[in-house]
Amino acid sequence: MRTICLYFQIHQPFRLKRYRFFSIGNDHYYYDDYLNESILARVAERSYLQANKVIRQIIREYGTQFKVAFSISGIALDQLELYTPEVIESFQKLAKTGSVEFLAETYSHSLVAMKNKEEFTRQVTQHREKIKQLFGQEPRVFRNTELIYSDRIGADVADMGFTAMLTEGAKHVLGWKSPNYLYCNVINPRLKLLLRNFRMSDDLAFRFSNRGWSEFPLTAEKFVTWLRKLDKNEETVNIFIDYETFGEHQWMETGIFDFLKALPGVVYKNSNFSFGTPSEIADNLLPVSTISVPSPISWADEERDLTAWLGNELQVDAFNRLYSLTDKIWRCDDVKIRKDWTYLQASDHFYYMSTKFFSDGAYQVYYNPYDTPYEAYINYMNVLSDFSIRLNSLVPEDNQDMEIASLTQVISEKDMLIGKYENEIKRLKSTKGSSPAKKAVTTAKSAPKSKHKTISVKAGKK
């Protein structure tokens, strides 16, 4: 049984508003609500809802024979819930059909896998819980942000209990090997790897409407003849693309939805392929070999590496600055801080700082709110400065600070006790009552150790 695996990625970052340095310390809201809401509304209407409708029709026609997988970043889910809840509802309907698998990723669509395993695990857990809560599924397969993968990341993902992971079928990694088989991680072979067939995926995602392309126009029939031309032993063709390909990157007028509508029928009629979800493929196929990826790969650009996010000094500086806060974040349970921490990690913020596109003059990043990478960096760093200040005020800087903070807390508590005793003494002097001293001691012992006290004392000290 040969399978075709359709997997669609959905992500939208919380784009930052223009945040000047004078706002640092004064303004703690960082997001451009208008921009985010209008982009979400537009993409939902033109892409997500339309494509979901088509997929529902297909499922109505072919039932559970047809399979498709999604991963929706936690940040995208948050925004969908906030701005276009009808999209969530539409996905929930799809989830009930039994044809749809939801994959896990980092909640923040972050690059944390490159930095910190603990935080990586935490974000994945957070995302798994969200998927469970919204769609009632326990994800078994993992896809990392931008399909970023290395041997070590794979091992970390295996440790989290996933059976399989998706990544790019990068030429420089595969060499003569074909992406159309199941592979496994070199450190922990229990983790299966599904590799993206980048040629056929990009035919859809990038070349579909390109009139200069030799294969234009691409029809479902033509696509299936390519499937049939593949070597008979090749087992799976993994088409991994952005969901926005439908209706947004490729407009409805290009016929992309018609292609999707027609595809299952033609696949069943003209080929011996069927559809499968990533976890089915991981269960049913045997890995043909391990794949060794010592340095990380991604699905981006010609190079399939990380240079679009961590390629220049601006990006590296911002990235290191951000993750230097990790330890403090772990000591902070403030809800707002946690939320901003989640949103500030989105890989998009680093993508906007890329200077890669200078050389080919194609600096037309999808919905990039900035004119230049420098603006993107300055804006992000301003926001991060304010965030650090907030975090520092909630979590004391170092041991000495902590000691001072705890001592001042002790002093203030004792002050309060003294006050209480004085009141008590006054009360006793005025009224002659029974055994009040014992009472006072018990109240003192159970005086709550509130965080707020620490803060006010620290602020006063400054």
């Binding site: 000047r20 340095f21 000094e313 601006l314 500086d317 911002a318 004119d371 420098y374 603006e375 300055i378």
Partner: protein, 427 residues
Amino acid sequence: MRVLMFGWEFPPHISGGLGTACYGLTKGLYSVGIQDILFVVPKAYGDEDTSNVDIIDAGEIVVSERTIDYSSFFRQMHFIEVGTSLRPYSTPEEYEILTSVDKTDSRYLVQSSFSGKLSFSGGYGNDLFQEIANYAVIASIIAYKFDFDIIHAHDWLAYPAGIAAKLVSGKPLVVHVHATDFDRSGGKVNPGIYEIEKAGMEAADKVIAVSNLTRNIIIEKYGINPDKVVTVHNAVEPIADRELQKRARSIDDKIVTFLGRVTMQKGPEYFIEAANLVLQKMKNVRFVMAGSGDMLNRMIWRVATLKIGSRFHFTGFLKGDDVHHMFSLSDVYVMPSISEPFGISPLEAMQSNVPVIISRQSGVSEILQHAIKVDFWDTHAMADAIYGILKYEGLPQMFKIHARDEVDNLKWEHAAAKVKDVYLSIL
């Protein structure tokens, strides 16, 4: 191919960007195979770098009595003898130099009858127009005496000379627009200068603009046929590494620099407003305004009003080594020009590894990628960029690595190759 080029100054006797640009261009042309250039300047001192060009001193051409009809914009001009220098027009200190022209030194006995429109009241003395006219007269003599294939005139002061040479020789004329009066005057265009500029552009077979910004002005404000106007961005001469040596700093504070004429065109007031914003948030920073000009007093007054004088310094006009010194002390260079046809100083700053912030209303912003670009009026964005460079390590690191490379790739050879194409298109 022999080129007759009319300029107004040539290194080492330069007072503005024009001389530097002419020098770079002639060197570039030399390297792309145009090695025969007759460069005419009103007064040659004898110590110019003549390795790439023959310098002709316009003042040394002995002129006998002639009558020439300049139908386009001089009515008729009689002259008897020209025995002396014409004053080089200089950009940075135009005002002061022009008003300090030593009139007793003038030995020329030129009688010109300008059309009445050329007389005006304003910054320039009538002498300047007379000199331009004289220069044109001499140009026609040179055009008789020498053989050449093409005429190339730099900026409006040399246009009449170019036109005269074209009338006499019938050879094609290229005028090179380094600036228009719309840039210099901030909108209050001098009709006399405008007329000369327009005449030059109209008489030319091709017009070279130093940026698309300037090209648009030429097309829109002077009504020149777009097909005739070609953009050739300027370049910058590489500087030797020894000039880059950082000098010892006497203070730990960060330094943010404005360097240029303190005139309306350069937008000095926006620099001050941005400085004020930055100083609200940051203490260890100083701002320097290097240069002089007719707005200097107003600027000093503004700084005093804002009470930022202890952190804001004026140096007056800087020359030569002092400029490099200033760059070597700077952490940020800001060029907030309102209208800058090209703007070479950010490139010089980048050569000294100084991060630059430039206004989008400058020609140089069309070609630079490793610079922060802001609208000149957006002092908030400007202040934010200054703060960012001073505060966030990523930016200076990034600039150190890429900006120098970028500026080193802006070579005069490339510009000269485009100029050569322009020549070939009209020969």
